[in-house]
């Protein structure tokens, strides 16, 4: 079977759990920006967790099915409509041949995930079906989805009727705290600059995509120095270095950028902190205007947060298996 893109939405793309292992040549891990929501959508339709789904930021696409299928929509809160009638989120439901899935306006969060039983069957490139649009490969034709695309779906064995219990569904807010580990080149900031980073409220700008999330707020102050050879003249410049996924860079001391799963792998701007792995999915569900604070944690705290997050994922998986 296949799914036709009637309307593409905004920068919708095929993603799975990503393509680790090629960062040293500038190929980012990619994969669903909110991995948890993507995996949940797959589990709802009986797919393995790494099946390919559609990720759609801010605006839903319109899809048409050419055969009966089972579908689930997770992630951002967005009215989901099957042939114009309300359909559930966080719950798998059947569709018939010729049915159309459309969406209303975004209410909370930023990205929806659409899984179809069987998974979107696009070619595996370097071990993943994820789209890396900047590099022009992976996903469907190496690009975001367009009107008229017909995406094949693999063989399915899942059924409808699985639902995520209410208490295990995420709540998206317009005010968020992100936990960060300070370090990297943070010694380049003055003490006032470091305090300013941690004590200010930052507002997500519209420059927020799979590559990075840019925030507006005050100007950070850097230590004065004679720049090292090769670094460039601005005090926020460094000799080009590798950028961790989730790292926060502050070009020119203004508008911090959190790099996300399609990160540029390196460059010449000082990074001053890194969002912990447990909070990257939460970053993905922030829409422009979200008021954000960076809360410093230690590495050990980051690891505990990771373990807690994995425990929540395990509870969700068990709950879904119980509803089979």
């Amino acid at each position: 079977m296949a799914v036709e893109i009637i309307e593409p939405g905004l920068a919708a793309s095929i993603q799975d759990r990503g393509r680790p292992g090629y960062y040293s040549v500038g190929i980012p891990p990619s994969g669903a920006a909110d991995l948890r929501a993507a995996v949940t959508a797959n589990l709802l339709v009986g797919n393995p967790p790494d099946a390919a789904v559609i990720e759609a930021p801010y605006m839903g696409p319109a899809l048409m099915f050419d055969a009966p299928a089972v579908v689930a929509v997770t992630g951002a809160t967005m009215p989901t409509l099957l042939n114009g009638a309300p359909a559930p989120q966080w719950e798998s439901f059947p569709v018939a041949a010729g049915d159309q899935l459309t969406f209303g306006f975004l209410r909370a969060g930023a990205r929806i995930y659409i899984a179809v039983a069987g998974g979107f069957d696009v070619p595996v490139v370097l071990g993943s079906r994820s789209t890396y649009a900047l590099g022009g490969f992976g996903g469907f034709g190496g690009r975001n989805l367009r009107k008229g695309d017909v995406i094949p779906v693999g063989r399915a064995n899942g059924g409808p009727g699985r639902a995520v219990p209410e208490e295990l569904r995420p709540a998206y807010r317009r005010e968020i705290e992100l936990r960060v580990v300070l370090g990297l080149y943070d010694y380049r900031l003055t003490e006032a600059g470091r305090n300013c980073l941690l004590e200010s409220e930052w507002t997500l700008t519209p420059v927020a995509d799979r590559t990075g999330f840019r925030y507006s707020g005050p100007v950070l102050e850097w230590e004065e120095r004679i720049q090292p050879f090769g670094a460039g003249s601005d005090p926020s410049n460094i000799v080009d270095a590798g950028y961790p996924i989730g790292s926060i860079q502050v070009p020119g001391g203004v508008e911090p950028i959190i790099l996300h799963r399609d990160a540029v792998s390196g460059g010449g701007y000082a990074m001053v902190a890194t969002v912990i792995s447990a909070d990257l999915n939460r970053v993905a569900q922030c829409s422009p205007g979200t008021r954000t604070r960076f809360v410093p944690v230690t590495l050990d705290e980051a690891l505990r947060a990771r373990a807690d997050d994995q425990a929540r994922a395990a509870r969700l998986r068990e709950a879904l298996e119980a509803t089979r």
């Binding site: 900047l134 990297l184 990771r306």
Partner: protein, 296 residues
């Protein structure tokens, strides 16, 4: 985190370790980054996902569910100590040629569209480069750029993009600031320059480096059409030595046609790169490397 010798170790969240070997760029420090990476690659600790050598630093991405951060750090420190104790001063690599149409219409047209973001509104980026580096003509700058070879000190930013550092003494390094504000467009295969680094833009997109010309030769080929991409879609590897060669419009078109026909092969030769010999006699050693490339 503790500092070991000159190096600075720091965590990038719970999945990354960054080692800054030095703050300034030099061939020696880049050599250290590559040597430590090689040791880590040859005997890979399970759970280390990516080993990314950079110009003067090293980024490790790891899965903390498989490898504890302390174990990753211990492994990297051991590799650094191994390099410090028995410095590998030579490396097996390759040298190849990248033909460049300098002062081409594609980058000039793009540059003219973004003049409001440039330090010098009049002229083009090459003219700016010549002035900034105290050269009396654009041709003199092109001669310096294409005369001595460059070493690939880092691959990244976007897929397959090489950063290159010219194998000449620091006083002969070509240095330029980046654009005041990044462009939103750069032609694919543009030869760029920022700080002391050359780059080749592997794909069309945003960029802040000065633009000098274009190469007709692909460096990133997801479809793997050319024989040089049989093994992998990315051509450049850290440690690759690159010689730019100035070509004209006619040769650019001829090479493009060869690329389109799927017949183009890079001119390349394996070489042993010896850091001490380069530092002792840069021009003599570079001439020897070029001899290996051109078979003289």
């Amino acid at each position: 985190m503790r500092r070991s010798g000159e190096s600075r170790y720091s965590w990038g969240g719970d999945e990354h370790l960054v080692v800054q070997f030095a703050e300034a760029m030099s061939l020696e420090v880049n050599f250290t980054a590559m040597a430590v990476s090689k040791i880590l690659n040859d005997d890979r600790l399970p759970g280390i996902v990516d080993i990314c050598p950079a110009n003067a630093s090293l980024l490790i991405r790891f899965d903390p569910d498989v490898a504890a951060p302390a174990a990753v750090e211990a492994r990297v420190r051991a590799a650094e100590e191994q390099v410090a104790g028995a410095p590998a001063r030579s490396v097996e690599t390759r040298i190849f040629e990248v033909p460049v149409w300098y002062d081409d219409p594609f980058t000039n047209e793009t540059g003219s569209r973004f003049r409001d973001r440039h330090q010098r509104p009049e002229g083009n980026d090459l003219e700016f480069a010549a002035v900034e580096n105290d050269m009396d003509s654009v041709q003199a700058f092109i001669d310096a750029h294409s005369g001595s070879p460059w070493i690939t000190s880092m691959v990244g930013f976007v897929a397959g993009l090489p950063f290159m550092f010219q194998m000449v003494p620091q006083e002969r390094q070509l240095e330029l600031p980046k654009y005041l504000r990044p462009r939103t467009d750069t032609p694919a295969l543009t030869i760029g320059h920022g700080g002391c680094f050359a780059c080749i833009y592997s794909v069309r997109g945003a960029g802040g480096y000065q633009m000098f010309g274009v190469t007709p030769v692909p460096i990133f080929d997801p479809e793997q059409r050319l024989a040089d991409f049989n093994d992998f879609m990315v051509f450049f590897r850290p440690g690759d030595i690159v010689k730019f060669r100035s070509i004209d419009n006619a040769e650019y078109d001829a090479i493009r046609a060869e690329v389109e026909a799927g017949a183009y092969r890079y001119r390349q030769r394996p070489v042993t790169f010896d850091l001490d010999r380069l530092l002792a006699d840069p021009d003599g050693y570079n001439a020897e490397l070029l001899g290996a490339l051109y078979g003289s």
